[in-house]
Symmetry: C3
Subunit: 267 residues, 3 copies
């Protein structure tokens, strides 16, 4: 299934419209291109509806929020909703400032989101269970994180993805654990943002967003594992370049060899 | 001739003022520094005239256009025109949205451009022959692209560069084809933007902009070929780093070995 | 001492809030993460006070200044001052335009800066001795640069860092020379900006800012030397990735082997 979805991304080359932060915008564009889709990044309120309408998915990332950009996110999101184009939300730093809390609320009040992806702190805070986010980093343990996912999924009618040592992918009743990835991914700024880009690429070609999200996180994680194993990797700088390489090189054989997904069955 | 122009860039180190997009701004700055010029990137309307006046060339790229930035482009462009400083325009995504169409028109109505560089879709649209641009990517075939170049060159008194498997460089009566470059350059976001930076670097040291543009595209393409041949390249991530290396390392021997330019003679 | 400060950065993982330029924002974030601290980059005036208040240091860099961003710098800086959080200022391109001169004056009039870092041209201009800055590059020789440092240190009650072949670190009466680093660092855009990030990381864990700044510049310089010695380095592109690697890999043995600091004693 995952190999077929990757093949579909590469065949259809969906346009993935990002409205995103200034820090990792280049990495998100390159990761999108490497996996086989077409990136476009623009936040001008005068064109985001038109660009979103031409896209296969819309990725909203609040890493460096400004008033104009937030307006653009809402406008693009509403247009995407009208046209049934999936919208991914990455609520970067939710809980760290009032602006981020207000921004996420404004987006969720105005736009139907297909997939919300965050770290454990952000997702726990969004579920109303509290948490700690230092800058954009999750701090502490979140033992009820699966329940938080299901609550958010029910409240917003969406799929929820929590990135971590194992990634959790859940809707209101299903939970998958993707155990791919490598610790080096946490030593590079923006791998969380790139994961949201991957979620967009796969959501554009598969309407079951638990499936599309599992495929996205598995492919991204396996690329990370392949990069980490390379003997030309000497630290986070060379690893980042290798991660892009391996998204581009990813093939069926590697997916079959490394794929590690479990369905969590609750009795 | 090309070797001499490269030597001149490195000796004079012209300041290349970019008003450009958020996605590839770092890559454009690094490519400019690697080839031997000095990059400066600023879009504050309060300083762009002063910065443009101190520069050897001005590069305008509408990849992530906003109203303030467009105002800055026009102000900087007018100042550059007054001082006879060449202006390069990269109409990124022309045809994809009304904002981009309006922005290009506003710039061309107010600023004399020395070199317009685009992909085939953008150039065909600019020439009034229509075309398809998906996000920022040219879609389809453009068999009349040379005629489009000549039409634009006549209409705006400029040189036109079309990037592709072979790059076309044309003014109203001459056409050169630069057949350097490597397919890997299309797998890295921003090589088109970096090409515009190169056009600025060489336009700053040579007033015949067919010559300067041919030198820029040849040097950039040869650097791409040298990067692609390296055995430490494993995909787009490592290729991108190698491309910067090879812009920096580019020498007369490599140019002589790889240079592949043809003049197209129309009877 | 330096090894202990590096260990403290890695143990405490201070949040380093940057309000910085669009060109090198990703590199600054990655360098901060590689050395062991936590980066956060945001410039929205609605959240910068809250983010600065949660941080261990605030880094202000005027590389691509806009009115909103300058307001955010002043607001964040005042909040940091109230809470005794050190503020680093990188007056990028001071002297190149009136906007940059006015911006630096506005920041210095409103915010107490702990460490000002610039190139020789910027520092000489700030000291009132004049100088030439082309874009963001220092041009010419500055024989009185140590005197300029002491004058600035006295005027603003701060530590002054001048980057160059040897880095100068001075307050009103002490002067240290850090002779680490490699010429390749000058071939990568943003190493000056990353140096300011390093100054922030170390200022967050050590209140003697001559000591913290010496540690920051020594660690950054040694990482550059280790990167330059690697046999997988083929130019500025691969060097940049290696620099990130070596910030991450930096250990006591390398510091002991390469550290080259002198105290300048004036009689």
């Amino acid at each position: 299934m995952i190999e077929q979805l990757l093949e579909k991304v590469r065949r259809e080359k969906p346009l993935i419209h990002h409205i995103t932060n200034q820090v990792t915008i280049n990495d998100c564009a390159n990761a999108t291109l490497c996996i086989g889709a077409l990136p476009v990044m623009t936040h001008a309120v005068d064109e985001v509806e038109e660009m979103a309408a031409a896209s296969g998915a819309l990725v909203l990332n609040i890493g460096t929020p400004t008033p104009d950009q937030i307006d653009a996110m809402v406008a693009a999101g509403k247009k995407a909703n009208q046209l049934n184009i999936p919208v991914i939300l990455d609520p970067v730093g939710l809980g760290a400032t009032k602006l981020r809390n207000d921004t996420v609320k404004m987006i969720l009040d105005n736009v139907h989101i297909s997939v919300i992806k965050g770290n454990a702190g952000e997702i726990s805070i969004l579920a109303g269970r509290g948490g700690t986010v230092k800058g954009v980093e999750s701090i502490g343990r979140y033992d009820n994180i699966e329940t938080s996912c299901h609550d958010i999924a029910k409240a917003y009618g969406c799929t929820v993805v929590v990135t971590g040592a194992a990634d959790i992918i859940a809707d209101s009743n299903r939970t998958l654990m993707v155990k791919n990835g490598d610790a080096m991914m946490g030593r590079v700024v923006g791998t969380g943002c790139m994961a949201a880009s991957m979620l967009g690429c796969f959501a554009a070609v598969e309407s079951d967003h638990v499936q599309s999200s599992a495929a996205a996180m598995a492919c991204f994680g396996i690329a990370g594992q392949l990069a980490a194993k390379r003997n030309d990797i000497k630290g986070p700088g060379t690893f980042k370049a290798a991660l892009m390489d391996e998204l581009y090189n990813l093939d069926t054989a590697s997916i079959e060899q490394y794929l590690n997904i479990e369905e969590v069955v609750t009795i």
